[in-house]
């Protein structure tokens, strides 16, 4: 058993979880929307990337540049057609609507691609690794670069939200949408941008996941749960908290898997429940959940 290695691998996976979680955090933060189809959008993007690669023979890394703009459009479309109608209404309709969407997406994928798992082949790059501490710790080059990209995405996003005019409007809308409207903020377009960001980041996470492990049509719900746990562990409304939440979840899972492969998810969930009991506002959260 190699604890240090488990922790390192956990941190690297945590970066991926944070990327899943970012979109959930943004859409809840800006429009108080909980999208149960979040994970299915990630899986769907990975399938589209896979189809693109099979059809053109190009590398999955190039597929990213095709799929991401597409997912931004999908995000705007979904916001305009579906989610604008459930923002601000009784949350039970929100949950039912996004749950219905989730079931529909999962089964469209199942029908289209059957139940067989797929993977995105990144070739030689996926096998390269760095060895540390006398070969005891092996860091895959791909997981490392994926972690770096995840952090980069979070840095860009927090600069966008913290420093730009639209980012300020994001936060103002989150605080008080009615007054933001009075100040001339077009909240519909703010919502569309927020949702485009949510779908784009989760699509990138889905593709990155597919480059390392197999994925299948039914994976979405598990990804949603990982994203959700990362957000709550880190604390709502804090992107860096989300990164830490993802890392904590990742470490808990890899340590659980070291003890017994069947415990990987269970230990992750238990850590989440403990945080919820001990510190319901999350580790970096300032406010109680409302």
């Amino acid at each position: 058993m190699n604890w240090f290695n488990a922790i390192i691998q956990g941190v690297l996976v945590g970066g991926l979880y944070a990327m899943y979680a970012t979109g959930l955090s943004v859409s809840f933060g800006v429009m108080r929307l909980v999208n149960l189809a979040h994970g299915d959008l990630a899986v769907g993007s990975a399938f589209i990337a896979s189809t693109f690669c099979l059809a053109t023979g190009l590398s999955p890394f190039l597929a990213i540049f095709v799929v991401l703009p597409l997912s931004a459009l999908v995000g705007i479309g979904l916001q305009v057609a579906v989610f604008n109608r459930v923002v601000g209404v009784d949350p039970s309709y929100q949950i039912v609507a996004t749950f219905g969407l989730s079931i529909a997406i999962q089964n469209v994928l199942l029908q289209q691609y059957a139940a067989n798992p797929r993977a995105l082949n990144i070739g030689e790059f996926g096998n390269r690794s760095l060895k540390l501490v006398g070969d005891d710790v092996v860091i895959g080059l791909f997981p490392l670069s994926r972690f770096v990209v995840a952090v980069l995405v979070l840095v860009l996003l927090s600069l966008f939200i913290g420093r730009t005019r639209i980012g300020r409007a994001f936060r103002a809308t989150s605080d008080d949408p009615d007054i933001a409207r009075l100040m001339g903020v077009n909240i519909r377009s703010i919502y569309a941008v927020a949702f485009a960001i949510a779908v784009t980041t989760v699509a990138l996470a889905g593709i990155f996941n597919g480059m390392q492990t197999q994925f299948s049509a039914a994976d979405g719900p598990a990804l949603l749960i990982y994203a959700f746990e990362s957000v709550i562990i880190g604390g709502l409304g804090s992107l860096w908290g989300t990164l830490c939440g993802g890392i904590i979840l990742g470490i808990a899972q890899t340590i659980g898997a070291e003890i017994d492969p069947g415990w990987k998810q269970l230990i992750g969930h238990l850590v989440f429940l403990i945080v919820l009991l001990v510190r319901p506002m999350g580790i970096f959260g300032k406010d109680e959940l409302r």
Binding site: R171, A172, V185
Partner: protein
């Protein structure tokens, strides 16, 4: 010249009608007061001018044009800014950022960050403070400053004195003439009549969604105001 003219306005929320046949006039550069008891429809009147309440019937003419069918942000672009009841500043934004959102419409004019800080010196040393850490008076100053950043021609002030200490209210009202000096017209809505009446040239009193009294504050007696305010002792 008339800047704002409200003609026979009826308005409300969904099934509930709050205003009945209200008419009001405001000249460019003037300040008027709208007084009345809790629930008389004062806030609804300001909100329907700002565009966040459904107008059932009637006209609102701003600068010679009807604005009834315009969205709130389009009215803001023409120069109508609301300081909402309860201040409603953006709590998780800093003071500086709140002012930036106020300038979101990019309307040009004399007002900018520096002038707001000069007029409200209490805000100048708090620029990077999160707005939910401000005192009530500072929050109210910020709410007014935020509205001024859109360079309004008409500033709608909803219950500025609500929940503030008298000394703070006095301080805020002392600043208002400086705002008028930039050519901005004002409508005050207050439950506390004295402040509002002393700061305006003309006053309307609302009772149950209708104008129960209007006139120059100097022409109105205490008794007249009391009866129009509470709806008692009026001979019809």
């Amino acid at each position: 010249m008339s800047l704002l003219e409200v003609r026979n306005l009826s308005a409300g929320y969904g099934q509930f009608q709050a205003l009945f046949d209200i008419s009001l006039n405001l000249n460019e550069g003037a300040a008027i007061a709208v007084i009345g008891a809790n629930g008389a429809g004062k806030s609804t009147l300001l909100k329907s001018i700002a565009g966040v309440v459904d107008v059932i019937f009637g006209e609102i003419i701003f600068d010679g044009e009807s604005i009834v069918n315009l969205q709130p942000h389009e009215r803001l672009n023409r120069g109508i800014a609301l300081v909402p009841e309860g201040r409603r500043i953006f709590r998780s934004l800093t003071v500086d950022e709140n002012l930036s959102i106020g300038a979101y419409s990019r309307r040009q004019g004399v007002w900018n960050r520096e002038l707001v800080y000069e007029v409200f010196p209490m805000l100048a040393k708090l620029t990077d403070r999160r707005a939910d850490n401000l005192s009530g008076g500072e929050q109210q100053a910020l709410a007014i400053g935020r509205a001024l950043m859109s360079n309004p021609r008409l500033l709608l002030l909803d219950e500025v004195s609500l929940g503030l200490a008298p000394i703070v209210v006095k301080k805020l009202y002392e600043i208002l003439p400086r705002i008028r000096a930039t050519g901005c017209s004002l409508i005050y809505v207050e439950q506390d009549t004295n402040q509002a009446l002393s700061a305006s040239e003309y006053a309307y009193c609302l009772l149950e969604g209708q104008v129960s009294l209007e006139g120059k504050p100097s022409d109105l007696s205490r008794e007249q105001i009391a009866s129009a305010y509470f709806g008692i002792g009026v001979n019809k």
